[in-house]
Symmetry: C2
Subunit: 282 residues, 2 copies
């Protein structure tokens, strides 16, 4: 009988915990979870988040066939550096960071014997910590894979199958540059909109008057500040372009409203609504 | 046995149809639905949306104890004018419009023998028409009541009980001025954000990269253009103030990002996220 392979998840927070839970039972892999926090490890062991938990990453690193780093982006970059000589030759190393360029750059420090391939499971919640991890967190989510320049096809295929096993709705392969440019708009800008909307002086006066549109727009405003401050600042030029563009589009609507130009307002609304319909997101 | 009272819903679209469905069985009221569209009436009759349907509003108007106008704001204003001499003396007349000042003003044309009280069921969908009406549409929604200056308490109480019967999460009584000022922010601005976000040139490139935040923020962008063009233009000064304030808050975030000022970014995010948490919306 072949020896069981090992998938090591480093960092058992909301995302790492959910990844571990969703990954259990994948092919012939044993899922080991590592975290430095005793409470987190205890919770993970108690709730069978992984097949095995450990406080000591280094005790597993040299045996792990797949290593998944699941902390904040700067933490991932630091860990890659700290672990660079301890990986098993031939290991596939990946991460779950919401930014890919800076992480792929940090991964340059790894030896040629390991294959770093970035991943971004596009799911989250307004809470954090393993207590909020869910096996089904990825069910309606996209899984983005950003291979390195020398990544092997069999390793990309392995992560693809892992993504399928974890229950993602679909899987996309792209470059780190493309990922970061698009994510600035589809994810980071939405978080900036949410927090900026909550800066309105009328916020607290509005309770009892909010509808689904308000809840939808501001849902993510109570964000994990250290995480998002990193994500925003590591992608600032692309994000700033998106914010500026939104400022301009808002301004254009305001001008038409201030001018009382009803035909132009209708025309603009028709245009925007048709674009949304064409997107056809369910 | 006392004669059964009549609640007449004029306009059986998404909201009117849902109101009729949710109102059925309220105390000793018979719910009659009126619409000019033959297909709508046929659908309403077939699906038991009301206790009775009619093409002829005027045939019921003189007998109706409560009349609920459920069309676009301008349509409501027009109907109030057209019907002003046909109401039953003592009738309570109301509406479901998302704007209250302009409608309450239009209701000034009504005789003293009827009591006009504005209502705003804060619920909706990205679809319209009776096919999309739902009895449970109001379950997680607020119901806003804006009484007239001379409205009678017993009539306000009646609409309150109707709101309870329709299943609203809660009911708020306020002035039309307060309603319109707040709704400019909590509802209209959210729709402007949604459409302005969809004007981004990168929209179609982003499919496969959107997460829950994008879906939440842009859900309402495929809006009912004639309805929202009316709502926006009838509340333009308040809405423009909200848009300008958002432009400023977005700009402030952009400045901090462009400056690469990480401590200030963290401080701003802490501030906004704490405001959202304090709102405590579920």
């Amino acid at each position: 009988m072949a020896e069981q392979k090992i998938a090591l998840v480093v960092g058992l927070g909301l995302i790492g915990g959910s990844v571990a839970m969703a990954l259990r039972g994948f092919e012939d892999y044993r899922v080991i979870g590592a975290d430095r926090d005793a409470h987190t490890l205890h919770f993970a062991a108690e709730h069978h988040v992984c097949d095995e938990v450990t406080e000591h990453v280094e005790s597993v690193l040299g045996r792990a066939d797949v290593v998944i780093f699941a902390m904040n982006p700067k933490g991932i970059a630091d860990q890659l550096k700290a672990c660079r000589d301890a990986f098993k030759p031939g290991a596939v190393v990946t991460d779950v960071g919401g930014i890919k360029g800076a992480i792929m750059e940090a991964a340059q420090c790894l030896p040629d014997t390991v294959d770093f391939i970035g991943c971004h499971p596009m799911a989250g919640k307004e809470t954090s910590g393993i207590e909020n991890a869910e096996k089904t967190l990825f069910e309606n989510a996209h899984f983005i894979i950003t291979p390195g320049k020398n990544s092997q096809q069999e390793h990309i295929d392995l992560l693809w199958r892992m993504g399928q096993h974890m229950g993602f709705r679909d899987i996309v392969i792209t470059t780190p540059e493309e990922h970061d440019a698009i994510i600035a708009y589809t994810s980071q800008l939405m978080h900036i909109i949410a927090v900026a909307t909550c800066d309105d002086e009328d916020l607290f006066r509005c309770k009892g008057f909010e509808g689904g549109s308000f809840r939808g727009c501001t849902r993510v405003a109570a964000l994990d500040v250290p995480l998002w401050a990193e994500l925003f600042s590591m992608n600032a030029p692309a994000l700033c372009r998106c914010i500026r563009e939104l400022e301009e589009h808002l301004h254009a609507y305001r001008e038409v409203l201030e001018a009382g130009d009803m035909p132009r307002l209708v025309e603009k609304l028709e245009y925007s609504a048709a674009r949304k319909r064409k997107m056809n997101l369910e």
